[in-house]
Symmetry: C2
């Protein structure tokens, strides 16, 4: 992203096209009865670790699947596939976010009606993914305790466009002197869950929330 007039104009057209495709995706998801949750965060905030937990817990009663985006490597898909859920990797190359076209392509051949929940893990980035609607029903932004409480102020758009915030690595909160109250104040008006994918703390509550949101 850059601010020159020509690029702004080109980006506007791209975003418009993305919005149209995202709208079509959302209609397909609704028709198939699948609830789609996207995950956005900094690199290393724990999207994949949380997703491993969520897939495991939800799979007890629901049919779940995931798409995972990265610039390079298929490590995350391999990691998540251990859950037994269908998983596909989207490799973006140099592109710093997923877009609706990539999601659409990655879904090719999948029977969406056979799913209850579809998770879409975006590229680790607190800026670029903010502007790209993926047709998801719920956008989940993760903030790890190790990143500091100030990130919602420094990356406002991604938090403004999210529907729920998840504070991850809560088991490290004391070690890094994470101030929960300040974080909640900075996150603002979103439902907030505090979880540790390592200890499992808080994950069941998040699962309940997702079941209720569907």
């Amino acid at each position: 992203m850059s601010g020159t007039p020509r690029l702004v104009e080109v980006r506007k057209n791209i975003l418009k096209h993305n919005d149209e495709l995202a709208r079509a995706l959302r209609e397909r998801f609704a028709a198939a009865g699948v609830f789609v949750v996207s995950l956005v965060s900094s690199p290393g905030a724990g999207k994949t670790a949380l997703l491993e937990k969520l897939l495991g817990l939800l799979a007890e009663r629901h049919r779940v699947a995931a798409l995972v985006g990265d610039l390079a490597t298929e490590n995350d898909a391999a990691r998540l596939a251990r859950s037994g859920a269908p998983v596909r990797q989207i490799v973006t190359g140099t592109v710093c976010h997923l877009d609706a076209t990539m999601v659409d392509r990655a879904l090719e051949g999948w029977d969406l009606a056979a799913l209850d929940f579809l998770f879409v893990e975006n590229v680790g980035n607190l800026v670029c993914p903010a502007s790209y609607d993926l047709g998801e029903n719920l956008r989940m932004v993760l903030l790890s305790t190790t990143e500091g409480e100030d990130k919602p102020l420094k990356y406002p758009t991604i938090f403004h466009t999210a529907d729920v915030a998840v504070v991850t690595k809560i088991d490290l909160a004391e070690a890094v002197e994470f101030d929960r109250e300040t974080a909640r104040r900075n996150i603002g008006n979103l439902p907030v869950f505090e979880v540790s994918s390592k200890t499992g703390a808080g994950v069941a509550e998040l699962v309940e929330f997702l079941r209720g949101a569907k």
Copy 2:
């Protein structure tokens, strides 16, 4: 960043223009005798905390200053100004990286010849800053132990374009089961420093390296 042909073409022109301006900046820096170090990392990897330490230690024998980039807030500049060094904030709005034009503008009125070291802290992002030369002499990429060892594989370009890697939050390495050997292998062929801005471990060695590099 996106991959459509029109955007790729516009981006190519922008990058070409950026490269030209960066070259001019590099010549100005050389003529003034100032050594310029840029810092790139994920959000929350500890760029500002490390910079606080570096400014403090270097200021004992050198004239130092810093530019800090963020989408929003002037928090980092306020934090770094406590060191007594001249500091300016660059607020990028929605732009996910600094560019040479922003650096050029932020330097207006500064006497570069009065400086030995100038630090440029980029926006927290492991993708966008990779392509933008800022005229720096040395690009330092930070990887915090809490992010995991796999980040150099997932964000290869930013590590390939860096001159030195700094593993931060080394005091948390055991708590997060950070595997130092795997991280070094993934980082590849760069000088690697391990530091903790909290305990101060390793920072003196990094300062010595910077003095030697100048």
